[in-house]
């Protein structure tokens, strides 16, 4: 066994030092009925690298990759180019195989990158402070709702009809388990401002999204004002982090909490995970935040250093009064995010955002020329919804047969499969003019 260093001689010598006859002695506390003396049945024995790699490669080839042809699928995860150096950095053993930096003297590498990550996320979202990451955007959204209830001592949350339905579901689940009332407005392509009409004195927070799941960008300042007038909070959600380079960020709209998905920067699609949740808020709310926070301090020699701080909010100290049960988060994905952002810089992010926007505009213009296609999203960044005369599932299947992965049907995400003819399509810097032409041509043949 290539991963097990002990030799049979070692085992014998160690047992003798311990004074045990065999390893069975160590399992004497296991009830006899639950002891497996032989081997678990139904599973194969060990295999070499070649055999394992062969098997997994076979499974991998049964999937159509995003890079292998025209690809327009988005809705919360986006195909972007990740610089080669980012993957090299996160594969450094010192980052890849280290633990949560609870021992700051020998974890300054991780801690300093987290401090840089927090600074970048705060700047990108235009918020005061950011934490050291959450699992992903959807769980960050759920935690934001619960945090708003804690901060306001109220128990009601309203979600717009444009919040990603998976985010809404995760939020609803966590809130309802804690006796928090959740009001979800009906799906709406351009309905974020409708939140203004749903603030009352019992409200903990309103949750809106821009760009929303249909791609619509909205200045939600009016929502923030309405919420604040009732001493409620405004939670601003995004699923496409690249949009922060161009689109009004949460802080500029008066958000109290900003949450979103960071996958687009530095991280692969990975069939849905691991991703990296971004979580930022105002200074006033920092002690209500879930998750880990890295802070600056000095060491015994007076030199600058970094430590995990305000950890009394967390489960390992606060236990049943913790702000969240989160422990392990997305450290390595946060490293990928911050390394990619360091390569981009603020200007690079803006340029990348402009490219994405331009590609989406080109895509929309090309699709709009196809007879029967109606673009539905009024203002968008790199993603928009459109409708044809045909059922969206059938359209996407026929596009797939022509090698085009044309987007996500709204009915896959929405409750009760509504908006059956609506497709949501995304373009990024990876999209080419040829991809766009192929999409338009295929669509013309179908509808």
């Amino acid at each position: 066994m290539r991963y097990l260093p002990l030799t049979p001689e070692d085992r014998t010598a160690m047992l003798s030092r311990i004074g045990a006859q065999s390893v069975d002695d160590f399992y004497q506390d296991v009830p006899a009925a639950a002891r497996l003396d032989g081997q678990i049945i139904g599973l194969p024995d060990h295999q070499g690298e070649l055999a394992v790699e062969r098997h997994l490669s076979e499974l991998a080839t049964q999937n159509r990759t995003a890079g292998n042809g025209p690809f327009f699928v988005g809705c919360g995860a986006y195909k972007h180019h990740v610089p080669a150096s980012v993957d090299m950095i996160i594969q450094r053993s010192e980052f890849l195989t280290t633990y949560t930096p609870y021992q700051p003297e020998i974890a300054q590498g991780t801690l300093q990158t987290l401090f840089e990550f927090q600074t970048q996320v705060a700047a990108m979202t235009a918020m005061d402070v950011a934490n050291a990451s959450m699992y992903d955007g959807s769980t960050a959204c759920a935690e934001a709702a619960v945090m708003a209830c804690r901060a306001t001592r109220r128990k009601k949350v309203v979600l717009s009809g444009g919040v990603h339905p998976h985010y809404a579901a995760a939020t609803k689940l966590l809130c309802e388990a804690q006796g928090i009332e959740v009001v979800q407005l009906p799906p709406a392509i351009d309905g974020e401002l409708e939140l203004v009409n749903h603030v009352d004195d019992d409200l903990a927070c309103v949750i809106g999204q821009s760009p929303n799941v249909f791609g619509t960008v909205t200045d939600m300042s009016a929502v923030a004002e309405a919420a604040h007038a009732k001493k409620a909070l405004f939670v601003s959600v995004f699923t496409e982090a690249v949009s922060l380079g161009l689109v009004t960020p949460p802080g500029e709209m008066g958000a109290d909490i900003a949450v979103g998905e960071g996958q687009s920067i530095g991280n692969s699609l990975n069939f849905g995970g691991p991703y990296v949740g971004l979580f930022a808020c105002t200074q006033k709310l920092v002690r209500q935040m879930p998750g880990r926070l890295c802070g600056q301090t000095v060491d015994a020699d007076g030199a600058r250093g970094f430590v995990l701080t305000l950890s009394t909010r967390e489960q390992h100290i606060r236990r049943d009064k913790a702000t969240s049960n989160i422990c392990t988060n997305s450290g390595l994905c946060a490293l990928a995010f911050t390394a990619h952002m360091t390569l981009l810089g603020g200007k690079g992010l803006e340029e990348l955002a402009v490219l994405n926007h331009e590609m989406a505009c080109d895509l929309a213009d090309s699709l709009a020329e196809v007879p029967g296609v109606e673009i539905l999203t009024p203002r968008y960044f790199n993603e928009f919804a459109f409708r044809t005369q045909v059922d969206a599932e059938a359209v996407l299947a026929m596009l797939g047969e022509r090698g085009v992965l044309g987007g996500v049907r709204a009915s896959r995400l929405l409750p009760c499969g509504s908006m059956g003819d609506v497709i949501i399509a995304a373009a990024t810097e990876c999209t080419t003019q040829d991809d766009i032409a192929a999409y338009a041509q295929a669509l013309k043949e179908i509808v």
Binding site: Q283, K284, V286, L310, T312, R313, R318, K321
Partner: protein, 129 residues
Amino acid sequence: MTTYYTEDHEWIMVDGETGTVGITAYATEQLGDVVYVEAPEDGSFGKGDDMAVVESTKAASDVYAPVSGEIVDRNLLLIAEDEGGQGKPETVNQDPHGQGWFCKIKLSDKSELDGLMDADAYKTFCEGL
């Protein structure tokens, strides 16, 4: 003015109908460096309710109301600056029985004081821990 003590290491100094509440020197020694204090601006508490929170780098502890009453003041010296205070929680370590008080309450039932310890009884109590 008389000071009373609880088994949970709170003290209350009573002056007429008002009592000033804090935590004892013994408690601060156990907690270590105090880094954050959360004390209520207003509200009513029953005897033994969670009233305030004191955080050190190693623990977060609830401070229980020694007796029932209504909050009339809190010590802004201890409260974090971004929460409207002066951000000096270390005062709890430096002067736990004086400048490091947490809040003042208007007592709703002075008879509850009978169940608390005086300074000598508390000293004996701590020696037995």
